[in-house]
């Protein structure tokens, strides 16, 4: 009863050239934005703007920041004041160490983005690898991996990250990669689950069987199937995880198990150092790194939820599109002669439903997909 028939992507289509591939990629990225609307679009766009701003800050940190993240004296060799109030030279003021708060916040964006990207890359790699192994090999390998992953999932994320960061720092010191690895440990299980589920269902797909029967390499087909399946859910999980990872990183920094202060500027550490300042009425050392965390996490969460709203069929909202209903043509109209008494012109003015019935499923309900919880 679905009313929209769209051409199905199939094997018979023209091969994709390089440039079209880029176009398709761009289209793919743009799709959620085009398809979204209402609150979802607001969230998606706001989130994207915030995230892009932060990304730009991270990339162009050397240009944006007025000073280095551990610089305590200007170019003239004149030392910065400790705890200087926000002003012309230091627009966000200086810290207890005499660092420029604005520059620390800017460099902190670079740290956060680096760590989170690293962590996402690591956990995607590990999660995908283990998920594929579990899904393909099955049997006891699968069972063991699932148990281990479930167990990791059950441990409080921050606790796990703390312990891993703590253990790693004994080996390799507290750098960005340590923090990234600590965070990785937290998110591997999620990707593992997605990939494993997709692999298992790919194995059961009838057309994989069919392909095998026809002598095609099932691996190729499975890979394609997997890719499309996994790629659909990864953006949402990845953005939401990134948001969570920022918080975990900040938590680690706040507790002192994160990136060490001489290595990079890190918001959580700065906040920790600012706790005393706040008590002394020095608000600027804590406020700005705190706001930076809030903005980035909010941006990522808004983006993730917005994406979820447009990509997850279970909660997707159909856009309400105004319909203009023309009068029936004479031919379409039932002849007056055949109509009992009450037919009067003007009676068939279109009526909008919807006041009462907010049920937004498609007509013919039964066919709509029922997705799991987001």
């Amino acid at each position: 009863m679905a009313t929209v028939t769209q051409p199905m992507p199939g094997p018979g289509r023209t091969p994709v050239k390089g440039s079209t591939r880029v176009v398709r990629l761009l289209r793919g990225i743009a799709r959620p934005y085009r398809n979204s609307h209402g609150v979802g679009r607001f969230m998606l766009v706001t989130g994207t703007v915030l995230v892009v701003l932060m990304l730009l800050t991270a990339v162009f940190a050397p240009l944006i920041a007025t000073f280095g993240f551990s610089q305590v004296a200007g170019a003239d060799g004149q030392r910065f004041m400790n705890h200087a109030e926000p002003g012309a030279e230091h627009i966000f003021g200086t810290t207890t160490q005499g660092f420029d708060v604005f520059s620390r916040v800017v460099w902190g964006a670079r740290t956060a983005v680096t760590v989170v990207l690293l962590a996402l890359a690591f956990s995607l790699f590990l999660g995908v690898l283990l998920g594929l192994i579990a899904g393909f090999v099955g049997r006891w390998v699968d069972r063991v991996l699932v148990m281990v992953m479930d167990a990791l999932f059950a441990l409080p994320a921050l606790l796990l990250a703390i312990v891993v960061a703590f253990l790693l720092s004994e080996y390799v010191g507290g750098g960005a990669s340590t923090a990234a690895l600590a965070i990785t440990a937290v998110y591997v299980p999620q990707y593992f689950r997605v990939v494993r589920a997709a692999t298992v269902s790919a194995k059961e797909q009838t057309y994989v069987e069919a392909a095998r029967a026809m002598g095609a390499r099932p691996a190729t087909i499975m890979f394609r199937y997997l890719l499309t399946n996994v790629i659909q859910s990864v953006p949402v999980i990845a953005t939401l995880n990134a948001a969570d990872a920022i918080l975990t990183l900040a938590g680690l920094g706040f507790l002192g198990y994160g990136i060490q202060p001489t290595e990079a500027a890190e918001w959580g550490y700065d906040l920790q150092r600012a706790v005393s300042d706040t008590g002394a009425g020095i608000w600027w050392t804590g406020l700005y790194p705190g706001l930076a965390i809030v903005l980035l996490v909010m941006g990522l969460t808004l983006m993730g939820e917005g994406l979820n709203e447009t990509m997850n069929p279970a909660i997707r909202v159909r856009r309400l599109i105004p319909i203009s209903m023309p009068e029936l043509t004479a031919a379409q109209r039932t002849k007056a002669a055949q109509v009992p008494e009450r037919d009067r012109p003007g009676q068939d003015r279109p009526v909008d439903t919807g006041g009462e019935d907010r049920n937004s499923r498609e007509p013919g309900s039964g066919e709509t997909g029922k997705g799991g919880a987001a």
């Binding site: 400790n82 004994e170 507290g174 060490q260 001489t262 706790v275 020095i282």
Partner: protein, 538 residues
């Protein structure tokens, strides 16, 4: 019974039934010295003039059994719960009798003490020479991993020759034994303490002025008055509440909110600055007492580049301790120009005498004279988790000072204390930071462990003249000769610069209005005598 009495006092304080303490109370006996015998009506007889002191701290207490503690916070409780044979009175630097009537050298390796009579533990048992023997022997038998038994290493045996006489036989001459006997490691414990295991913290008791009422290292330790205490220390309060805080800022907030009356160790630099400036409006004052905690940088003398004295001297010539104290610590530490801190007999600002003001040109000259190629590059290690967050800032500052001279190329490296502590003595670091709290306020404690050929740093420093001076410092019972030797040693340190002392830190406490006695107890001995403190907040 004890607990109930204590709670009554606490309740009074909390309810605000406030009578300002008549501070003072010299050698007066606690008002209820016999209260324990009176039993039930102790509540009625409770002195209302002296209320428990609430002391907030960020320190971590481990064990109150002296056999299981070698850290300042735990020792500090031991100092208030147990007696020792000797003690360094407040404001002085020489050991004086505490539980002992008198102590004397019999010969170079024999030391004999006579106990005061009539000393009682809080459970009513008597303190005799047997207790001293038991205390020392179980320390050495238990060798607890976090105990301070190493301090007693030179004591070969202890014997009680009679009820009140105890004799120490040393394996080698040790002039510091009287000092060692003032440490908490030599606290006298009851016979009921097991000989081969630690006494549980909540069952610990001694013959000192306080008894432990309840013990929770994570939140609160309650100390009540030991009714049996008959020592010389005045008792200016009716008990002590030690409230623990994890964060310095929380401690600061607590004293501002009036939840604690004293904040002692540690407040951050920012907190102290703020309290000094604005604390008075909130009823908080900052009290500073002489302190003997030091921080220093060790140079790996055994190999390049620091096997060349000129390189070490050049560093000593460049480092600007004032800048560190001002910019990083904002005046909460004092520049230290020699191994022995100010306030300890034998202190000489030898580095200042040797090098004067920081001078890059002079350093350049020193290096040029020795034919050292510049820049000299080396790794400089520090740990972020031991001596406060400012250490990192300080090494950032030192790196800048050295590199700005153009003579050095410094790579800062850090390691957490757990790893750091295992590797600093294996010679793998070019240069590294450490800190030191003295075990007792004697200069030898700042010289012997560091500069003897057999030192705990294992950094390759060896100097025959120094070893001879140390022999004098260690064994000569003539105090003047020792001090002279210490001063000589100090000058050699400045000349050779194997270790560069950076700062010494005062003891800083914040107290609420109306609290007295804190200033007196903040002396170089690094012992907080709770009994000195009195007063109730308005």
């Amino acid at each position: 019974m004890r607990t109930r009495r204590f709670r009554a006092a606490a309740a009074l304080a909390a309810a605000g039934a406030l009578v300002l303490a008549a501070c003072g109370g010299d050698d007066e006996e606690p008002a209820d010295a016999n209260g324990a015998a009176n039993g039930d009506d102790a509540d009625v007889e409770e002195p209302t003039s002296e209320l428990p002191i609430v002391l907030g701290t960020t320190d971590t207490v481990t064990n109150v059994d002296p056999a299981g503690a070698y850290d300042k916070p735990s020792w500090n409780i031991a100092y208030n719960v147990y007696q020792r044979l000797l003690a360094v009175p407040l404001g002085e630097t020489d050991p004086q009798p505490d539980a002992a009537e008198s102590c004397d050298w019999v010969d170079d390796t024999t030391y004999s003490c006579t106990l005061k009579s009539g000393l009682l533990f809080s459970d009513g048992s008597e303190l005799t020479a047997e207790n001293v023997v038991h205390s020392i022997e179980r320390q050495k038998a238990i060798e607890h991993e976090s105990g301070g038994w190493e301090l007693l290493a030179t004591i070969e045996s202890v014997e009680a020759t009679d009820e009140s006489t105890v004799v120490f036989n040393l394996s080698t001459a040790d002039a510091t034994l009287p000092y060692i006997l003032t440490t908490a490691a030599a606290s006298i414990v009851p016979m009921s303490y097991p000989a081969d295991a630690l006494q549980p913290n909540d069952q610990a008791f001694g013959s000192g002025p306080y008894t432990i009422e309840s013990f929770d290292v994570t939140q609160q330790i309650q100390l009540g008055i030991n009714a049996n205490y008959s020592g010389d220390r005045p008792l200016n309060n009716s008990g002590v509440l030690l409230q623990f805080y994890q964060q310095e800022s929380a401690l600061k907030q607590a004293i501002e909110e009036g939840e604690v009356m004293i904040a002692y160790r540690s407040l951050s630099v920012t907190d102290i600055a703020d309290l000094e400036e604005n604390g008075a409006d909130r009823g908080v004052n900052v009290v500073v007492g002489e302190g003997t905690e030091i921080n220093y940088m060790v140079l790996q003398v055994s190999r390049e580049p620091f096997d060349e004295p000129a390189v070490r001297q050049a560093i000593a010539q460049i480092i600007d301790r004032d800048a560190i104290a001002e910019s990083v610590y904002r005046g909460t530490v004092t520049p230290l120009y020699g191994p022995v801190p100010e306030g300890v007999a034998g202190h000489v600002p030898s580095f200042q005498e040797q090098y004067g003001e920081p001078d890059v040109a002079a350093a350049e000259q020193i290096l040029a004279d020795a034919g050292v190629e510049t820049p000299v590059s080396f790794d400089l290690w520090w740990m972020p988790d031991r001596y406060g967050a400012e250490i990192g800032d300080m090494y950032g500052e030192i790196e800048r000072q050295l590199e700005d001279s153009g003579l050095f190329d410094v790579t800062l490296e850090q390691l957490s204390w757990g790893q750091y502590s295992t590797v600093f003595s294996d010679g793998s670091m070019d240069a590294f930071d450490l800190g030191w709290f003295p075990d007792f306020p004697d200069a030898s404690n700042y010289i012997v462990p560091f500069f003897h050929t057999e030192n705990f740093l294992n950094y390759g420093y060896s100097n025959d003249e120094m070893d001879q001076l140390i022999e004098v410092i260690r064994t000569d019972t003539d105090q003047d000769a020792r001090v002279a030797a210490i001063e000589d040693a100090t000058r050699i340190v400045a000349e050779e610069a194997p270790i560069i002392q950076l700062w010494q830190r005062d003891q800083i406490a914040a107290v609420r209005d109306g609290v007295t006695g804190v200033e007196e107890t903040l002396d170089p001995s690094f012992i907080f005598y709770y009994n000195m403190v009195s007063g109730v907040e308005e």
